[in-house]
């Protein structure tokens, strides 16, 4: 059997390294587990010399250790985004489980695998299109403020690596100047002193003074002049803006851009001598540029601290963007995207009729989610009564996990592997146990499958409970989404739903009664939230019916 799943999800600015695991368990090839991130590092675990097979328990233990190592590896590499990483891990595991459950009934998994991995179309092994991870920047502007201690005219300033990053991102000319001047021409300290001097001059808004100083100092003039790189970038970007905000296009259209046409509109530009023109800079410009940079966020793989590498790293993505854009342009993707966007925007939503009236998308969730989220309460309610199983230690350091793995391997070496050969059913069971373990760790890492109240129940009521919860959830979802009732069919739908829901009550009661007395309390605890949810729906329904009956039907209105 082959299980292979990759996960590659990108969530706005945040993303996490994509990783994949391949687990091969078959009678023909050796056991291998491959864990891989999108960076070049990959963890491979092979057991090559095994002609025979591992005992079930050993495999289970081994793989959970491996996962721990892997988890540690991941969390260490992207500590800051642990939350996201964690989130994505669980997604993988859930998907993994789904694939397994369908795999033995049909060949869908193989098809998926073909499509995603073997075809190499969507998820390449070295998927280089993965956007770089970005983190948020502080939305604060750096300014040079003269400290007026009343004694001297000294201006002090503080620069942190983060501020330097921000300055480089906001002012490409400064970044370029740094790469050009430091350290060959001037030292880093001199560089920043000059920069601060320039900023100070700007803050005084004295263009003439700025021009005078710039004339004497070549490096200083770079900071004082308008940012040529920024202007070029703006010219490039302007071609792909949303046409519904493109004021620039109007300029060319109305002919009023032509010189001296029409009247001055009350707000005159202040006229400057052309020699001072390059030194004019406005606070508004900085403000916009700052917000744009903050909106973009910071590349996470840029190490702050080393100023030079920061500057170089910032210069790089620009080129990549450029190349990207050219390829996009040639395909006309951009244009199509924009026109789609406009047509979406112009539609008046509430004039639209109901779309696809009778079908709301089904989303059958893992019913376990529900019990996992409630089991904490249930557990607290009756103490540790049901769980006699030792909780599994989940959070392990990589060293520890490695040790345990080594121990296991040496154990195998000493004892040899037991015969007879494990049959496929057993292997499948192993995986099921394993996956269950994984899926229940979704909500808190400290939970083991045995902590779940649900799993302590006998199989029949357990399955029934799960089944009922799935159906109740679905019914409720449709019920609530039908409100407010604005159409006739909605009204009919709600009535149907109500009938269906009222039939669930006796069934739940039946389950409660069918289980043995020692489980009954637990079951009723589990059932209670379901009942509450149903009750709430019924209460709302009744109130609404009442309101409707009193409402004036529309007829002739003044």
């Amino acid at each position: 059997m082959l299980i292979s799943k990759k996960y590659n999800k990108n969530r706005k600015n945040y993303s996490c390294p994509a990783f994949s695991f391949d687990l091969t368990l078959s009678s023909a090839s050796p056991l291998q587990l491959k864990l891989q991130t999108n960076t070049e590092t990959a963890l491979y675990f092979f057991y090559k010399n095994t002609r025979s097979y591992f005992p079930l328990s050993l495999i289970t233990r081994m793989i959970s250790s491996l996962f721990n190592i892997f988890l540690n590896y991941i969390t260490r590499s992207v500590e800051k985004d642990f939350r996201f990483c964690n989130y994505q891990l669980t997604c993988i595991f859930v998907n993994g489980k789904k694939s397994i459950s369908t795999a033995n009934s049909d060949s869908e998994l193989q098809r998926l695998h073909q499509q995603f991995v073997a075809g190499g179309k969507l998820l390449d092994q070295n998927d280089g299109r993965m956007p770089k991870q970005r983190v948020a920047l502080k939305n604060e502007m750096w300014t040079v403020k003269p400290l007026s201690d009343g004694q001297s005219n000294r201006v002090t300033f503080n620069l942190s690596p983060e501020i330097i990053y921000q300055i480089f991102a906001e002012k490409p000319a400064v970044r370029q100047a740094y790469l050009n001047f430091v350290p060959n021409k001037i030292t880093e300290k001199e560089f920043w002193t000059k920069y601060s001097r320039a900023e100070y001059l700007h803050s005084t808004r004295n263009v003439v003074a700025a021009a005078a100083e710039a004339a004497e100092d070549e490096e200083l003039s770079v900071f004082l002049k308008q940012d040529e790189l920024l202007a070029n970038e703006a010219r490039r970007k302007i071609r792909r803006v949303d046409p519904t905000v493109d004021i620039d296009a109007d300029e060319g259209d109305d002919y009023t851009h032509l010189l001296d046409h029409g009247l001055s509109r009350g707000h005159t530009k202040d006229v400057l001598d052309p020699i001072y023109e390059p030194y004019r800079r406005s606070f508004s410009q900085n403000l916009n540029q700052h917000a744009a940079v903050v909106l973009q966020g910071r590349l996470v793989d840029v190490e702050l601290g080393d100023t030079r590498s920061v500057a170089e790293a910032l210069a790089k993505p620009k080129q990549a963007e450029l190349a990207n854009e050219i390829s996009n342009n040639s395909k006309g993707n951009l244009e199509k995207g924009l026109s789609d966007r406009i047509s979406r925007m112009i539609e008046i939503e509430d004039l639209q009729g109901p779309r696809d009236p009778s079908v709301a998308p089904l989303s059958v969730k893992d019913p376990r989610d529900y019990f996992d989220s409630h089991q904490g309460d249930a557990l607290n309610a009756f103490g540790d009564a049901g769980s006699g199983v030792k909780p599994l230690k989940i959070s392990v350091y990589s060293g520890e996990a490695y040790d345990s793995l080594r121990e296991l391997v040496s154990e195998v070496r000493v004892k040899g592997l037991s015969k007879p050969v494990m049959n496929p059913e057993v292997a499948f069971q192993v995986l099921n146990v394993l996956i269950q373990n994984i899926s229940s760790t979704k909500h808190s890492l400290g939970k083991s499958p045995h902590d779940s109240v649900l799993d302590t129940l006998p199989k029949v009521p357990k399955d029934e409970l799960l089944h009922h919860w799935t159906s109740i959830q679905e019914l409720l979802k449709h019920f609530w989404s039908s409100y407010p009732i604005t159409e006739k069919y909605l009204y009919e739908k709600v009535t149907r739903l109500k009938d269906a829901m009222s039939q669930v009550y006796p069934k739940l009661q039946e389950i409660k009664e069918s289980v043995q007395s020692d489980f009954r309390h637990q079951v009723s605890l589990l059932v209670q939230p379901m009942l509450q949810a149903l009750d709430a729906a019924f209460a709302y329904y009744d109130a609404d019916v009442q309101k409707r009956s009193t409402k004036i039907q529309w007829s002739c209105v003044d």
Partner: protein
Amino acid sequence: MKFQIEDVTVYFPYENIYPEQYSYMIELKRALDAKGHCLLEMPTGTGKTIALLSLITSYSLSKPSNPVKLLYCTRTVHEMEKTLAELKLLHNYQVKHLGPSARILALGLSSRKNLCVNPAVVSAENRDSVDAACRKLTASWVRALAAEDPRVPTCEFFENYEKAASDAVLPPGVYTLQDLRTFGKEKGWCPYFLARHMVQFANVVVYSYQYLLDPKVAGIISKEMQRESVVVFDEAHNIDNVCIEALSVRVRSQTLEGATRNLNKMSQEIERLKATDAGRLRAEYNRLVEGLAQRGNLPISDTWFANPTLPADILKEAVPGNIRRAEHFLSVLRRLVQYFKGRLQTENVEKEGPVTFVASINAQVGIDQKMLKFCYDRLYSLMLTLEITDTEEFMHIQTICDLATLVGTYTRGFSIIIEPFDERMPHIPDPVLQLCCHDASLAIKPVFERFQSVVITSGTLSPIDLYPRLLNFNPVVSRSFTMSLTRDCICPMVLTRGSDQLPVSTKYDLRSDPGVEKNYGKLLLEMVSVVPDGVVCFFVSYSYMDGIVNSWHESGILKEIMQHKLVFIETQDVVETTLALDNYRRACDCGRGAVFFSVARGKVAEGIDFDRHYGRLVIMFGVPFQYTLSRILLARLEYLRETFQIKEGDFLTFDALRQAAQCVGRVIRSKADYGMMIFADKRYSRHDKRSKLPSWILSHLRDAHLNLSTDMAVHIAREFLRRMAQPYDKTGAMGKRTLLSQEDLEKMSNGVSDMLF
């Protein structure tokens, strides 16, 4: 849905329709039937555009023998694109229901800059303007040269278009500017000239106001349009200003210097021509003697701006003898420029009428009124003779001739104002000579006369009786619609006091009061912490905005605002503003939230929508009065008082309040949308100011919201946002129908009528 309005079956691309859209269509149809003009005010956010398009196209479909053509004028290119996108939606719907017989041709038309696809022309490396670069490749003499010498570059797109000749047509469909460019690239035809050509055959043309109102542009683009057309001016609350602009010219000292350079270059050219190709000059002279100022059928690529005066006022006479010779004409222009230079050296503000101005020109430099009047045509002819392609470079001398022609043609409704410096910056000498038109009806008069129906519509046309007076026409229908709301989805408030209970205002004496600045800042700070997604602020002027933002920056309020949202700001640089807007939308889309600082009467206030999450709150800081000391404004006010008996104060308040209403009106787009509007100035609480707001805003302005301080406003905002987050019945439950289905409309036409309002 489709429904019947009397004899017309209206196809409307949605399942439901707002009652006011239905009434709007009825009124519109009445005007079309009467072949008259109309004036319709309907609140923003009620789907005005689609109602208009839907009725007029359906009207045209129902009369296949004599279909009307629609000329739809927008103020900006992005509105043009939006209109065409709506039309596309409608067209798809109509074709789906009626089959291919409903096919129409609709296209947008813009300048070369927005339509050119030639990479050599539009590339960033090209320093020429698109216009000039295009002429360099497509002018008839350039192409004639290229026919002999293949090394002369031409534009392949234009050549292909010319080669295709009558085959170069656009198949039926709706074409946005983008679609035109794509089509042009595919076929290898120049989209600009193709569009210019197709305009005559199209059923719907969407273009900018100037293409009809500015005689210079209208003369070359709109002159072929048939009388059976419906002209729509959308968002027309500023139409009087556009009309005035179209006939006003200003000359600064830079213009005069440029003009002198132009004249030198032209005289060099004449000398060169005399030596090499004297026949050409002679041919021109002969043509002028025969009385043809304009050459007959010019190739489409050679057309220039037309005469700046209105078509009816252009003289069909021969050019006066003393300017027929090129060198004589140049010397006349030199004297004229010299005269203007002298006038600009004044130390006082001077104001005079066209008649005295012309008399003084005649007395001092000996150019009479008739010569002035022919300046523009004569210049045009000379530039063609000299084969000048760089239009941008020769803009200066064109401006001078514009002014001369206008001043020689019109004796009333204009004045000449010469100012040695800007009132607000008396230390910087910046002399300017302005020919100001005061009469908005002049420019629009030919439009009213030429076309059978002209529709003037906007969200803010209050008071609606003022527009017929300003534009001097008699509408057959003039109506203002209110908005039927399912829920109170707009929440206007008047904030008169800051958090310290002191009054806030941008009135002259309070304008630079640090207390007011601080109170305004605190208001915004409180609001950004309460309101999700986008917040838009409008200020009364650029200088005021710069000042207050700087002071917020220095006092740290801006820093605190940034804790909640990103801050973007409108600048006078359009590229920068466009990028800021794009980023602002992105920030709202991704949930980061942002504030946009903008200026009333600025480009952003003119036409950018801040609907849905792009604007949950608009704050109008102050009352956007015009700069009242401006000489031009004073002259216009005087004219209005004398001609229309409109009081100065009334006009100023009307003008300020329409701008304010325009700013806050951008916040809502449909009834499913919601937004708040804060008028932050104590003067809004006065009845005479407030009552000038459009009725759809006034009807939601509760008495309790007329005199708020910051803390109360924040409280109201919280409540409002919570209320809006609740689900609601879109069809309008509490007795009033705010959404009609096809069934409802059928019921209504079968008896129960007039149930809407």
